[in-house]
């Protein structure tokens, strides 16, 4: 018994049990599913970024070969399809509530971004549907478009929604600026910075797609679609198409090819496909292609920041002022307008003690696809700002950057931030020390000299960061021990790369002494997910689902003691449980034996229900404010070619405190993935809309710079685990921390490399072109002075 808990218990580097199947191509993604009698759907997407719809003529398309139906927004309107509305309830300082849009899956009045779906064809084959889409005549009057947050706020800018003439859906402020202004007035030094946080396209490997299977007998709809937790899509489709009757809708997903937050949202295309299936009483399949995914998947980031820190003469922060413009795109989506507030706002001052805060956030609407959660969801942006600012402040104050950080780290816990978050624990200086040692910071000078000898500029950059993880403060898990002793973990969280099958099994194996190999994960089906289950996002599955598993196991063990006592002819109170064995009065029975007895009513005490099958709904004590706070320090080393502006990443050292590490192999993978995603944004990913026409110009892999293996160096990740006090597993979400640390560490490293050339400012992405320009601009400025 001990052997396998040693090997497969909590903290062991267990190889992921999911991988074999995925690596040999055994995964089942939505397009792998084909259902007898299915028909195919294709969308017509608006070629304009902003236009008033005059008429959509579907006559010719409807008569094309194989076509069963053509639908426009008018059809959806006529059939009473509901509209998607965000549930964000944030208010402006004067009490004005956020502006919310009511979005019909296919618009009837205007198109508001290039690529918005405006009509759809259902045909016998996918080719017939695509051909018929070509025959739809889309008659619309083009309107001026606006694509950046700054331009959207300018006088005379195009207006997206008539009811919102200033395009600002929410101007949120934590307070008036008075308190900050007061400390700024007596500050020794004020350091300012203006930054752009570039927009990124999430590009999961699996494009957006959906099969809506209609059971004509029961009128029940089953949706197969990549999704990070089916309860949301089930609820949305039920509300919009089935008068809220949830039992009419089922969502199934075996494998999902990448989530990153963008697969946790309700897309109009999914609603439209379900509507078509319901209208026709047929099973309808839609496979979005890569270019549709580029134009219509929710994007990430896209902020413009103006920030300042006020310091006293000792280099201690007196106050922080941050003004942010967020480009939330054409619609107010589920989380877009709260990311910078509820997401980034949680940890807005990063790892530092901020006594006074003024934070203003304007959420601007533009003719672009909306931005919403993307790995980190506001926290990478917030950490990027404060880390760039600290680095700049160190130079302006003449204090060593590490020393300035140390002076300002949060050191006493629990620490309540200006935004009301209670940071329970952490040791930011220890993480920094660990990263400094691992990166051989002390030896950098010699390495820089070697680079110089080769005509290159070497730089090293550091970033401390604070994350806030956990999301929705409740989750339900069901643990079921079967008659043969095998265990099912039945859940509504959804593993799409996180390795839940492995980690949850480790928790159960350790807790109940059940062999790791006898534990299965049942996920991805709203018919089996327990009531109250939610999904996977916000780095929450271990800290929420994991705790719910522990508690369900506790109930099973208690019931097991009753059964074991009965079998051992002892009182329940006498029974002890350890490593899979119940003991009392010198006798013992294994969990497997108890499980067998639990399914045999003849062997159960009177009145005890058969089975070992428990569901636990866990609610985090402190709610939303009591999350877990992963943190760390990342150091990046780069070499820049001053002739070409090309950057090479040479080394990366991550020192992360993500609390108790359940499986170091998996957490290393999470850190590596997050860092790679962060480096991608910092180095090459960039989403460009044409400022005149609003067309997405980086709409394919030819023009959008995905990071590749050769862009990255070896990444050394080490842990400084300080268990979270907010959950009994002690875990802090690890999935999003990497992309909080990587962009500032990388950019600070490049700035360090270029400091000898007089380059003082850079905005992401650090493409050779941008760096080359910065070098030459600094040169020109140097010559004029």
């Amino acid at each position: 018994m001990e052997a396998f808990t040693e090997k497969f218990g909590i903290g062991q580097p267990v190889r992921r049990k999911e991988d074999q199947r995925l690596l040999i191509g055994g995964g089942v993604y939505t397009d792998d599913i084909n259902i007898e009698g299915q028909v195919h759907l294709a969308f017509l997407r608006a070629p304009y970024a902003h236009a008033r719809i005059n008429h959509i003529d579907t006559t010719a398309a409807a008569q094309a070969p194989g076509v069963l139906a053509v639908f426009t927004g008018r059809d959806l309107e006529k059939d009473g399809v509901g509209r998607v509305e965000s549930n964000i309830n944030l208010k402006q300082l004067d009490g004005t509530p956020i502006f919310r849009t009511q979005r019909l899956a296919l618009p009837t009045d205007k198109v508001r971004f290039a690529g918005e779906p405006v009509a759809m064809v259902v045909a016998e084959t996918a080719f017939q549907a695509a051909d018929a889409v070509e025959l739809i005549i889309f008659d619309a009057d083009q309107l001026p478009a606006v694509v950046t947050a700054r331009a959207a706020g300018a006088q005379g800018a195009a207006v997206l929604h008539d009811e919102l003439p200033d395009n600002c859906a929410l101007h949120w402020q934590n307070d008036t600026p008075d308190a900050y202004d007061a400390v700024a007035a007596k500050a020794h030094k004020i350091v300012t910075i203006a930054l752009t946080n570039n927009r990124v396209v999430p590009v999961p490997m699996e494009p957006k797609c959906c099969i809506a299977e209609m059971d004509p007998g029961t009128g029940r709809l089953t949706i197969y679609a990549p999704f990070q937790g089916g309860r949301r899509i089930q609820g949305a489709v039920a509300d919009l198409l089935f008068d809220g009757e949830r039992d009419k809708v089922r969502h199934v997903s075996d494998n999902t090819g990448g989530g990153f937050g963008t697969r946790s949202k309700i897309y109009p295309e999914i609603i439209a496909v379900c509507y078509a299936a319901k209208s026709l009483g047929r099973t309808v399949k839609w496979l979005g292609d890569r270019s549709e995914t580029f134009v219509s998947d929710l994007h990430g980031r896209d902020q413009v920041n103006s920030a300042q820190l006020a310091f006293d003469a000792d280099g201690k922060i007196l106050g922080y002022r941050l003004e942010t413009l967020v480009n939330i795109g054409a619609w107010v989506t589920e989380n877009g307008a709260r990311l910078a507030i509820d997401g980034g706002g949680r940890i807005v001052g990063g790892a530092y003690d901020i006594p006074v805060l003024y934070y203003s956030c304007r959420n601007m609407m533009t003719n672009t696809v909306s931005t919403d959660t993307y790995r980190g969801a506001g926290r990478p942006e917030a950490n990027y700002i404060v880390e760039r600012l600290m680095e700049k402040a160190a130079h302006e104050l003449g204090i060593d950057p590490q020393e300035l950080r140390r002076r300002n780290f949060i050191k006493t816990f629990p620490y309540t931030t200006q935004m009301g978050m209670k940071v329970d624990c952490g040791d930011f200086a220890a993480c920094m020390d660990m990263a400094l040692a691992n990166s051989d910071w002390a030896g950098f000078g010699a390495r820089a000299q070697r680079s110089q000898a080769g005509g290159k500029l070497r730089g090293i950059g550091l970033a401390s960061f604070l994350e806030g993880a956990g999301g929705r403060p409740e989750e339900t898990m069901r643990v079921q021990i079967q008659e043969d002793g095998s265990v099912n973990i039945i859940c509504g969280t959804f593993s799409h790369g996180q390795g839940h099958g492995t980690v949850y099994s480790q928790i159960v194996s350790e807790k109940m002494g059940v062999p790791f190999t006898a534990i299965d994960l049942i996920q991805g089906d709203t018919d089996t997910a327990p009531a109250g289950a939610s999904g996977t996002y916000g780095s929450r599955s271990s800290q929420m689902g994991g705790v719910a598993i522990i508690r369900a196991c506790d109930i099973i063990i208690e019931k097991g003691k009753v059964i074991a006592g009965h079998l051992l002819q002892a009182d329940t109170a006498e029974v002890t449980f350890e490593a899979g064995t119940f003991s009392a009065r010198g006798g013992s029975v294994t969990m497997a034996e108890v499980a067998k007895a639990a399914h045999d009513t003849r062997r159960l005490p009177d009145g005890l229900q058969p089975g070992l099958d428990e569901t636990y709904h866990y609610t985090r004590d402190g709610g939303r404010d009591d999350q877990s706070f992963p943190n760390g320090c990342h150091i990046c080393e780069v070499e820049v070619d001053p002739e070409t502006g090309a950057v090479e990443m040479l080394a990366y050292s991550a020192a992360d405190d993500c609390g108790t590490v359940l499986n170091p192999l998996i957490v290393h993978g999470q850190v590596h993935g997050g860092v790679a995603q962060g480096i991608g944004q910092a180095l090459c990913e960039h989403t460009v809309y044409d400022e005149e026409t609003g067309q997405l110009l980086t709409g394919s892999f030819m023009d959008y710079g995905m990071p590749r293996a050769h862009h990255l160096s070896h990444m050394a990740a080490e842990f400084n685990p300080i268990p979270s006090t907010n959950n009994e597993l002690g875990v802090k979400g690890a999935g999003e921390a990497g992309c909080c640390g990587a962009p500032p560490a990388f950019v600070n490293a490049v700035l360090d490399a270029l400091s000898s050339l007089g380059v003082k400012h850079l905005d992401m992405p650090l493409t050779p072109n941008n760096i080359w320009r910065a070098i030459h601009q600094a040169k020109a400025e140097g010559e004029t002075h």
Binding site: R45, A46, P47, V133, L135, E692, Q695, G699, M702
Partner: protein, 187 residues
């Protein structure tokens, strides 16, 4: 985006202008051109089959002419729609000037494209447009030579001029649609 371009044709200005009257020449010279319809003296429609990288579509274009100053130049405004593939629209100013024995055709275009054409084809549009322009001028020159007439006489056959009245507009309309759709050269 804005673009400019010019092309020397080894024929006198009047001959070039008049040769543009020949609808067959235009249709033959414009790559992918399938159909030309005259709506009025200043309005034309045309159909072109275009392939820009992975985007293949039949574009229907309308062109309106203004500021006609034969044989010196004019302005045209055009737009073309390729259904799900996207659209192009814009305005072009065209001038013909003498250059020794030959004629230089100069154009400046302000154009926009949208839809898949902008999203996917953007990077390929320059190359495709340059190729199309080259093909057009080669075919156009070949046409002038094949007519066999001395340059000065190319304009003479009244039949050619009669074929499509205002055909010079037609040429630029056609080319304009192609240019505009393709966001020609140096945006």
């Amino acid at each position: 985006m804005d673009m400019t371009g010019e092309q020397r044709i080894a024929a006198p200005r009047q001959a070039v202008w008049d040769a543009l009257n020949d609808a067959d020449a235009l249709k033959a010279a414009l790559p992918g051109c399938e159909e030309v319809n005259k709506i009025s003296d200043t309005e034309f429609s045309a159909k072109l089959k275009l392939v820009v990288g992975p985007v293949k579509a039949q574009f229907s274009g309308q062109v309106t002419l203004s500021d006609i100053d034969a044989p010196n130049g004019y302005t045209l405004a055009g737009q073309g729609s390729g259904g799900a593939a996207g659209f192009g629209k814009g305005e072009a100013k065209v001038t013909l000037t003498d250059d020794g024995e030959g004629t230089v055709i100069s154009y400046t275009v302000h154009a926009t494209v949208g839809g898949k054409l902008a999203q996917i084809g953007q990077r390929l549009i320059d190359a495709t447009a340059k190729k199309m322009a080259r093909q057009f001028f080669e075919s156009f020159a070949t046409y002038l030579e094949a007519e066999g007439a001395p340059a000065g006489e190319a304009a003479a056959p009244p039949a050619a001029a009669a074929k499509v009245a205002g055909g010079q507009g037609l040429f630029w309309g056609m080319m304009g649609v192609a240019l505009v759709i393709l966001w020609v050269v140096n945006h």
